[in-house]
């Protein structure tokens, strides 16, 4: 059977024209930036959605599970007529927080909050709205959740770039690993393959590079449309794409990828240029390009869903990369092989054709089998990061997209298995009935390629679809709460969830069982073991004696204090709460691998080990293990390990050193909780034991420094004096001095 495919020149031209026209139409059809949901999630919102407040909040705050792109994230507050009355942005102190200062004296009514966070890890943006009411609830106003569908234009560019990237990697690796070993001949020094083959391969590489560059440019434009919420034309006309390219993480990785592709194109061009003068460089450039394309695949992994995984994201990226490499070998190599077979086997017929085909297919089959094993193992690991229960496969869009992909991959595997059986008829004699239907592989190979294209489209859909929302809170631990009384007020403070990370601080104030409103309530968190205190944050009045603030001050488990200042009719009351913060209660932003994930990871390691073991074995047999070589290798390995470990240690030391410079560990730790008892004792001791302080000219200077000075410095001042402030009485005990320190804190000027 002959593989001849003949193309009339006018048919080819019309086909190309139709393709280009369709592509432009599709791009224009998907003209508007349509943000999909991302894998980042809202962790805390103040006020909550559909909250009914007695008066308008001072500030809106929305904490997310990962950092946002400050330039492309926004927060808008509209009144019930739709008019924008305030705009917010990402907090400069916390890039996972969207915050907005509410104008004072907002009237009663309904208010709509438009959130548009753009997540930094993969550039996906979310558009959703929340509602709150001041006074009473008003009908007809509803919040709008994020659109759960993938953006069509994103599916398009992901499919284009994925297909071309895999084809390029498949072409170069097929050339180096299959075509040259199977068909290479010294008669053709330029690439070791006949000119007709090298020409066909070169055309394929050229076209694939063109499509890959185009797809990447389309990716940048679509991302610009999403970030700025503009259409295709505006994204181009107003040069907004350049803002994304240099001002976002998506742009950073995009730049790196384009650089790699330029290097690939450069080496390909060099191979063409030098094929006559230095033909031996052609094979070298093509082989080197296989490594470069592997790096290009890696740049997709670092902005994939794996980058936002809660489970060891770097491991997720590495496994995703393995998955991409495996797909590149298998699918990309298969597509490349099918495209070159007609031209390669053109001079042959009958048995010669069969022998030539089998020489290549045998080699490719070994590569493909190894790739399939790695693809399956790595795919299971990646899926285990996002699919926790079987129901998520059928009840979520991501699960549906994954099922579709698995179905198509199943078909691909079946065809691959049939080919493998047909290539070894003696080994699989009992399946001879199946293999006779395959014939000369022409039809089934093309079917396999068509299925592979379907898989790539399904992968484009999958990678543009949001992953299911994971569990994000430590639901097992109860939120710590404590109650104290002062001057007839009962103050209940609750930390939610009460672990390291983001917490809400809810202060409920009552008198004789009735809520007390309109107080000035401020809160700070203190970490005594590090002698660190946060600024005093204003707790906003919500409703019925409830005052709320939130933050990420608690960054470690252990002992923490909360200091609350309550100002009521010019009287200031100070309370202190002592907490033992439990690490288990943290808002989960990272998790340990589940047993399924561990099993999948072991599967990946086994697959990789199984694939490379024959090569290692063959390499080992060739080794000349004389003493000098072994010493050299051991020395190189040890030196590399020392270099790597030393690098990590140096980096860690530098980071710790920076942290120590900013907030050095205290020489002496305040162990006395600044509660009412300590403050009263401290005041008495200050007045009786620190003679001369009240009249000293530097007392005011000390008061001004109180927001920034540490407790140990105040302790030293009490013990040794400071400037014109003499030392307090010498026979004071350590705890008594701490009482004085706690009292001195109350002299801090109120902002």
């Amino acid at each position: 059977m002959c593989f001849k495919v003949s193309w009339a020149a006018n048919i080819r031209t019309r086909t190309v024209a139709k393709f280009v026209t369709s592509l432009i139409f599709i791009i224009m059809l998907f003209g508007m930036g349509n943000p999909a949901s991302a894998h980042g999630y809202l962790l805390r919102a103040i006020p909550e959605d559909r909250a009914i407040l007695e008066r308008a909040p001072i500030r809106l705050q929305y904490w997310f599970s990962e950092d946002l792109e400050p330039t492309f994230s926004s927060l808008k507050l509209r009144d019930q007529t739709g008019q924008v009355i305030a705009e917010g942005s990402v907090s400069p102190d916390n890039e996972a927080l969207l915050t907005l200062r509410v104008p004072p004296d907002l009237p009663d009514g309904a208010y709509i909050v438009e959130l548009r966070p753009a997540f930094a890890s993969d550039g996906h943006a979310v558009a959703e709205s929340r509602v709150f009411f001041v006074g009473s609830e008003i009908g007809g106003f509803n919040s709008k959740a994020a659109n759960g569908r993938a953006a069509p234009l994103e599916i398009l560019w992901r499919t284009i770039t994925l297909t071309s990237t895999m084809l390029l990697f498949g072409l170069f690796s097929l050339y180096a690993g299959v075509l040259v070993p199977a068909w290479g001949s010294a008669n053709y020094p330029a690439g070791l393959l006949p000119p007709r083959m090298m020409t066909r391969l070169s055309w394929m590489v050229g076209l694939a590079l063109l499509v890959c560059f185009s797809g990447n440019i389309l990716a940048l434009i679509q991302q610009t449309m999403t970030f700025f919420n503009v259409n295709f034309i505006n994204a181009l006309n107003e040069n907004l794409w350049s803002v994304v390219r240099i001002g976002s993480r998506f742009g950073d990785v995009w730049n790196i990828r384009m650089l790699f592709l330029v290097i690939v194109a450069g080496m390909f061009a060099a191979a063409l240029y030098f094929r006559d003068e230095q033909p031996e460089t052609v094979r070298a450039f093509w082989t080197a390009n296989a490594w470069m394309m592997a790096l290009v695949i890696g740049t997709w992994s670092v902005v994939s869903h794996a980058a936002g995984s809660q489970v060891l994201p770097w491991l997720g990226i590495a496994v995703d990369w393995l998955h991409g490499i495996g797909v590149g070998f298998w699918v990309g190599g298969l597509a490349a092989l099918v495209l070159v077979l007609p031209i390669a086997l053109k001079p042959y017929s009958d048995d010669q054709r069969r022998l030539a085909l089998l020489a290549a297919l045998r080699r490719f089959s070994r590569f493909a089998a190894a790739s399939v094993v790695i693809v399956i193992a790595s795919g299971l690991y990646s899926a285990s990061n996002w699919i926790y229960t079987p129901s998520e496969l059928t009840e979520t869009r991501f699960g549906g997209a994954l099922l579709l992909k698995l179905l198509l991959v199943g078909g691909l595997l079946l065809l691959g298995a049939l080919h493998h059986i047909a290539l070894h008829p003696a080994r699989y004699a009992r399946f001879s009935g199946l293999t006779t239907s395959i014939g000369q592989f022409a039809t089934t190979l093309r079917l396999e390629v068509l299925l592979a294209v379907g898989v790539l489209i399904a992968v484009g859909q999958l990678s543009a679809t949001p992953v299911p929302a994971p569990q994000i809170t430590g639901q097992e631990a109860a939120a710590p709460t404590a109650i104290q009384q002062i001057n007839g007020l009962e103050v209940t403070l609750t930390l939610t969830p009460g672990g390291p990370g983001i917490n809400t601080y809810d202060t409920l104030i009552t008198r004789d069982g009735q809520p007390v409103d309109d107080l000035d309530v401020r809160l700070r968190m203190i970490h005594p073991s590090e002698d660190w205190r946060s600024p005093l944050e204003e707790a906003e009045f919500v409703d019925s004696g409830l005052y709320v603030t939130a933050g990420a001050e608690i960054d470690a488990p252990g002992e923490w204090w909360s200091q609350i200042n309550i100002i009521d009719n010019e009287m200031t009351y100070r309370l202190a709460f002592d907490w033992d913060i439990d690490a288990q209660a943290a808002v989960i932003q990272s998790r340990l691998p589940s047993p399924v994930t561990v099993a999948a990871l072991l599967g990946v390691l086994a697959a990789v080990g199984g694939v490379i073991y024959p090569s290692i074995q063959a390499f080992y047999r060739k080794l000349n293990l004389n003493a000098a070589n072994v010493t050299l290798v051991i020395g190189a390995i040890v030196a590399s390990l020392i270099f790597v470990i030393g690098g990590f240690v140096t980096l860690q030391q530098t980071q710790l050193g920076y942290r120590a410079d900013i907030n050095p560990p205290p020489q002496i730790i305040n162990t006395v909780l600044p509660d009412q008892v300590s403050l009263q004792r401290g005041q008495n001791l200050y007045e009786s034991s620190c003679n001369g302080w009240q009249s000293a000219p530097d007392l005011d200077a000390l008061r001004q420094r109180l927001p920034t000075v540490r407790d140990e410095d105040l302790f030293a001042a009490v013990r040794d004096g400071w400037r014109s402030l003499p030392p307090c009485r010498e026979d004071l005990s350590e705890n008594e001095r701490w009482d004085i320190v706690n009292y001195l804190r109350t002299l801090e000027p109120i902002a």
């Binding site: 990962e66 950092d67 930094a120 890890s121 180096a176 040259v180 070993p181 199977a182 068909w183 290479g184 001949s185 010294a186 008669n187 070791l192 393959l193 006949p194 083959m197 993480r249 950073d252 990785v253 031996e280 460089t281 094979r283 070298a284 450039f285 082989t287 080197a288 296989a290 490594w291 470069m292 592997a294 790096l295 890696g298 670092v302 980058a307 994201p313 770097w314 990226i317 390669a344 001079p347 048995d351 010669q352 069969r354 022998l355 030539a356 089998l358 020489a359 290549a360 045998r362 080699r363 070894h424 008829p425 003696a426 080994r427 990272s590 790597v644 990590f648 980096l651 980071q655 920076y658």
Partner: protein
């Protein structure tokens, strides 16, 4: 000193960038090594394909230099 994390949402801090750079360097080195090896590896023989002597379809040559 603050690091502009590019990758993996900064989950490993500065190690994010270190890992990425290290992997890229390793691949660039491998690219260079493969380039040198490819230039110095002996070329495959240019002999003509072997005529099959039997119909044993499993006994196919691993190397079939194309014309």
């Amino acid at each position: 000193m603050s690091f502009q994390y590019v990758l993996a949402h900064g989950s490993l801090g500065a190690y994010d960038e270190l890992i990425f750079l290290s992997v890229s360097i390793i691949f660039f080195v491998m690219m260079g090594v493969s380039w040198v090896i490819s230039r110095n590896t002996p070329q495959p023989p240019s002999d003509t394909p072997i005529e099959p002597h039997s119909h044993d379809q499993d006994s196919v040559p691993n190397h079939f230099p194309l014309e």
